[in-house]
Amino acid sequence: MNSIPTGKASTRKTIFSRETTVRAKIEADPSIVWALLTHASDFSRWNSTVVSLTGEIREGGTIELKSTLDEKRVFKLKIKEFMPEKRLVWGDNMGSRVYSLEKSMGGTDFTMSEKIGGPLFPLFASFIPSFDESFEQFAADLKKEAEKIQKAKK
């Protein structure tokens, strides 16, 4: 996983699943990155891959997400894991999106990955667009916004 260059998405495919991962070195405190990732109503302001995100990002919460990958579709997702400033997982029966934050010397090592799959995956795999570009954009937007907040004068 660590071999993936920062900011660049990579996808691993098998017959029954597909997993896309992106990493970024963000020069901001993990709590700023966490704040950005957990304030649902603010998402579409800074994240150009999200059309809308409603609901509450908290332990056991549910959200409705509209992504630029398919603006007509609303993904109804459950918050599966919520470990402040460390790990956030949301998803549905098809798969899960995992956000990991690790405090580093210069700020935060951020990783986002999503694995989708299941026994029927081969039937619809060709209809699911690639996530790579969207993941890279997501990570770039997050980095830009978090660093902007970090650098804001006291």
Partner: protein
């Protein structure tokens, strides 16, 4: 610190605390009640004050907690608050009758555009999520430092930075879209409209020329215009100004309208 020392120190910032609480609650009664409760709570807990922060920060923390306890279950206001309240006031002749009476009889019944700008911010800022609202006022109007705001809100400094960034941007966007004083395409003209009603002999343009934010709107960035708007709030005490009675009456009206609109009428 003793309760006697607290009483003396409290006096020094009581006015700021009260105006802060008014701007949070939009209610004179609630602001006054919370100031009183804050003092009582501070007196009973004064032995726990260790001097790790300033007394003012410690007291603002108590006041903020009390205000947040009261407001947490309440809905936030929509960004069209001033439109909704304007419509309601136009349907209510009693509102203008009473407002005109205050204008003519109260020593604090003047109408000044500058004061209305501050009043307008109080209403519009209630669209922000609660913690962001408090953080923004504490920083931009009452001059607290990040570390102190983090202490008051029991949050990390980084989270406060996030609150300030988001709330500031949201306010800048709302005023940029709405306020005709800073944007010719702005849809809200209420301050000049009301100035025409309460000060019929005054020329609005002459009055606006006295307000830096309006006068220099074309030459300044959105950020700078927001800072100038905050400067107006910093310089005004909503309880002591020459327009206090009129503005507080108007604020009370708007709060009641919003409570009804949001289905929160007691």
């Amino acid at each position: 610190m003793t309760t006697d020392q607290l009483a003396i120190e409290f006096e020094n910032f009581q006015g700021e605390l009260k105006s802060f609480l008014l701007r949070i609650t939009a209610s004179v009664q609630d602001a006054e009640d919370i100031v009183q409760e804050t003092y009582i709570k501070a007196s009973t807990k004064i032995n726990t004050f260790r001097g790790e922060s300033s007394l003012k920060t410690w007291v603002f923390r108590i006041g903020s907690n009390l205000a947040m306890d009261q407001l947490r279950s309440r809905k936030r206001w929509p960004d069209t608050v001033t439109d909704i309240c304007r419509e309601e006031s136009l349907k209510n002749p009693q509102f203008f009758k009473e407002a005109m009476n205050i204008r003519q009889t109260s020593p604090q019944g003047n109408f000044e555009i500058k004061e209305h700008i501050a009043f307008c911010f109080t209403c519009v800022s209630k669209t922000l999520p609660l913690e962001q609202h408090l953080a923004l006022l504490l920083k931009e109007v009452y001059g607290f430092k990040l570390r102190e705001i983090a202490e008051i809100l029991k949050q990390s400094e980084a989270m406060v930075k996030y609150y300030l960034h988001v709330s500031r941007n949201q306010m800048i966007d709302i005023f940029d879209q709405r306020c005709s004083l800073i944007n010719k395409q702005g849809i809200c003209h209420q301050c000049t409209e009301l100035n025409g009603i309460f000060n019929p002999k005054q020329k609005a343009q002459e009055e606006l020329a006295k307000i830096e934010m309006a006068r220099d709107a074309e030459d300044k960035s959105k950020e700078e215009l927001f800072d100038l708007r905050m400067k107006i709030l910093q310089e005004l005490d909503p309880f002591e100004s020459g327009a206090a009675d009129l503005q507080l009456y108007h604020l009370e009206h708007n709060r009641k309208v919003m409570e009804k609109y949001l289905g929160e009428t007691k």
